[in-house]
Amino acid sequence: LNKPHNYRAELGLLAHLPGIKAMLALLAVSTILATASGLLRLDANEQTLEPLIRAEAETRDALATAMQRYESAADASASQPVSAQPGALGFSVLNEYVVLERPSLAPLAAGVSDLLPDHYRFNTHADYLQQRAGSIDNPLRLSTGSFDLAFVLVVLVPIIVIALSYDVMSREKELGVLALVGAQGVSLRRFIAAKMVVRASVIVATIIIVNLLAIAMVAMLYSWPSMLTVVMWISVATLYTLFWFGLAALTNAAGFSSATNGVVLANLWLFLVIVIPAVVNLVATNVYPAPSRVGLTTELREASSEAEERAAAAREQYFFDHPDLADKSGDQEIFFREVARGEADIARSIQPQLGKFDEQAERQGEIVGWMKYLSPALLAEQAFAALAGSDREYHAQFKRAAFEYHATWQAYFVSRLEAGQFLSSSDWQNFPAFSWDRPTTGASARVVMMPLLALAILSILLLALALFKFRRYTPV
């Protein structure tokens, strides 16, 4: 009797389920809002950076022109322009912007991208001075989190799935439908199977459509994602949703009343979506606590003191020469050489301390890396962030590449400063350039592979268990 009309009847029932239209509308509106919000967020980031980078390019053009004019004048008595002084140029004039490139799906998951730098403005000062710039943020927004698609999928969709399926069988039982079904000679198992298949298909289809909608918006307004990431993203979303449907099915199969199912599922949601991620965070940050930033500050000062004394003479001279420094390019280069040496000393002694921050963050990442398997919500959230390039790892790789590059940039100027060389036009053309082999689509897909597998196993297990339990389901 597992005939098409069975499915059609269930579909018809589903269409008349109270609140289903409201919930689907909520999902559609949330998806559009979340995607739009993600697009606006990235656009705002771009808007703040773009004029700065443009202004820097203009400054450099002007400096390069001054350089050429100086060289073509071939007047040996004229003093070297700023563009020729590696110290003044590197330490106080040039800024080198290094910007994080994001994958196409970036608008869909904010992850930790609002917390970690997406660009650096480098100069020739030492590493530890490149990180000091404070940032201005919306602390309230950071603490509430962004309304992005990943949030909709990880937090809201389970609620919708629960609302649609917490009473999928218990209600039939309470209404006495199951007894009638049995009385008409219809196999109870087939009836249940038909019902579950229809519910699951509708939910899965909805999730796929919603995600395609979001991805289409991103493709048109941001950038085209690769097929592989799209497939991965939708697979994570679908399997995660199926997990919740499986949980609802299993709760139904256990034979509680509808209201009890609702309470049990609400608690499970709370536990898996809110409690476990919070506990994992608590464990990770307590087992491998970040070193104290204020402690670093004091150590930095301690380390600076010695170097400070050595540089003091040069510095004080500088302070008193403030107004008319421009004419004393030679003195200025001596000053910057002092600065470079002093900072190199401090950098050497502070480096171990600085390294500890990255080490602890790395270790925290490792703990979360395996503890995330405790909660499908955390698993899905991290997978989405990885696909969107908004996870800690993506930013850590960018930071590493950026600081490796900074070392090259710094050496370019300091080596010339130490050698007492001036820059020429050809040096200007040979400035180091930042390039980053950012994680490929394949790499992020590999990262998501295990979580995807785990989600698949979990959902299949839950659904199989539910169907198995339904074998003993009593109609009354």
């Binding site: 109270p18 700065l52 970690l116 609620i159 609702g262 965070n281 510095r315 302070f319 925290q364």
Partner: protein, 470 residues
């Protein structure tokens, strides 16, 4: 009659295994979050205090220096923590805790704790406040969704109404029974928290804030209680009541805060740190009141020479360089103040937008009220930054005055020592008084009050028109 209804309600709930399940989860989360608060307060307060002490000591023992070199060395203002700031961390994880106070520059607070704890995602911080904001209402919903709809389904509502009980007594009886059940679970844990507060250093000073917090959370729980009772009285089945309440809870706890925060951030965009620096730099160069800074300095030079009847700055009995530094510092400070105020205005506008949206979500109202009472809101962060800036001005002024009065014109080898360093003092942030916090929180308290009145009114109306079947 009221007590009979309340007692019956309480007993039914106490026997319900579903209620016990959530109660256990709630108590565990509260205990874990309070325990971690106690441990973290201990760690962090010691760490901050040690850092501030060390910084003060480094300042005092920096040896003989030119005062201006010392001004460049500067000191750090570190934001101390209070015990309640771990009950509700508010925005403190996402805002800087130390500000470098140095000559010529007003720095942004640095060292955000969240920057170093990004592994599990940004919004996974477990605090007692969060537990009370999210889990307590869920618990209340589970306690009360069947209050009327359940009786309706079981057919006992007819009997109950048949007794001729007054609607008000019925409402109060149910509310008291449910509130008692919630209180039995939550109050002991909160008392434990209160005891921990009393033993924490600085805890006694926050006792009234803690009392206010407990009162606010009680009101918050009552809002959910009355909303639940209203919906339970109006809907036919307890399932539909549960779905409606869970939807209300999820939307007001998770959806609206994020949408509002995103909207506020988009509506009042903030400049990036780099952009802010660029704007400040350009204003410092050109001046903000229509007068070129170089002209202002030239004018001061003329006035000073006139005052001392001298022909050149070399003939002055004071070091004019110190006056230039002082004047420059004040001109710059006005520019910094203009731009920092703009940023703070925007941050406040964002928060006001969020606060307005709390008329749609009681959780957003309690969230802001709670962080302000706990001393971890935007209010306190801005106050800290402004306090540190005022200190910086005084600090730099003292050093410049010493340079002006005690060194000779053009003297580059002038040195001074520990006496001056000590006279500048040590930095200490006192925090805002509770009265100041209270008055700044008034609009939010109003929002919370509106929610309470609205929920009570809707429950009252629903009970008055209570029918056996709907």
């Amino acid at each position: 009659m009221i007590s009979t209804i309340a007692a019956k309600e309480f007993q039914t709930l106490a026997r319900d295994p579903r209620v016990r399940l959530t109660a256990v989860l709630l108590v565990i989360m509260l205990l874990v979050s309070l325990l971690s608060a106690v441990l973290r307060f201990d760690d962090v307060s010691r760490e901050r205090q040690a850092a501030q002490d060390l910084i003060n000591e480094q300042w005092a023992n920096q040896g003989e220096k030119n005062p201006h070199a010392a001004a460049h060395y500067g000191i750090y203002a570190i934001r101390p923590v209070t015990p309640l700031s771990f009950f509700d961390t508010g925005i403190t994880s996402f805002s800087g805790v130390s500000i470098w106070l140095e000559a010529h520059r007003r720095n942004l607070p640095g060292a955000r704790p969240a920057d170093d704890n990004t592994a599990a995602g940004p919004n996974a911080e477990l605090t007692a406040a969060y537990t009370l904001q999210i889990l307590l209402p869920l618990f209340i919903i589970l306690l009360s969704f069947q209050a009327f709809a359940g009786e309706r389904e079981q057919g006992t509502l007819r009997q109950l109404l048949g007794t001729g009980v007054a609607p008000l007594s019925l409402l109060i009886g149910k509310a008291v029974g449910i509130a008692a059940a919630a209180a039995v679970v939550v109050v002991p844990v909160l008392l434990l928290g209160l005891v921990a507060l009393l033993f924490a250093p600085g805890g006694l000073a926050q006792l009234h804030a803690a009392a206010a917090l407990i009162l606010m959370y009680a009101l918050y729980a009552l809002i959910f209680l009355f909303v639940s009772l209203a919906i339970s009285a109006r809907m036919a089945t307890s399932q539909s009541v549960l779905v409606a309440l869970l939807a209300f809870w999820a939307v007001s706890s998770f959806v609206l805060p994020r949408i509002s925060a995103d909207f506020a951030a988009w509506r009042y965009p903030l400049p990036s740190a780099v952009e802010l620096e660029r704007r400040i730099g350009s204003d410092i160069e050109t001046g903000i009141d229509g007068r070129n800074p170089a002209d202002v300095i030239a004018e001061r030079r003329r006035q000073t020479l006139q005052l001392y009847k001298a022909d050149s700055v070399e003939d002055l009995p004071i070091n004019f360089q110190g006056i230039i530094f002082d004047l420059q510092e004040k001109l710059d400070a006005a520019v910094f103040s203009k731009h920092f105020s703009d940023v703070y205005k925007r941050l406040n506008a964002q928060q006001a937008t969020y606060g307005t949206a709390s008329l749609l979500s009681p959780r957003m109202a309690i969230e802001l009220v709670s962080m302000q009472f706990a001393g971890t809101g935007l209010l306190q962060q801005i106050d800290f930054a402004n306090h540190a800036e005022q200190y910086r001005m005084k600090f730099i002024e003292t050093l410049n005055r010493d340079l002006t009065l005690n060194s000779n014109p053009g003297q580059t080898d002038y040195r001074t020592g520990p006496d001056l360093w000590k006279s500048v003092g040590e930095y200490h942030y006192p925090g805002l008084s509770f009265t100041a916090v209270l008055s700044a929180t008034m609009p939010l308290l109003l929002a919370l009050g509106l929610w309470l009145i609205g929920s009570m009114a809707s429950a009252w109306m629903a009970i008055r028109s209570l029918r056996v079947s709907v």
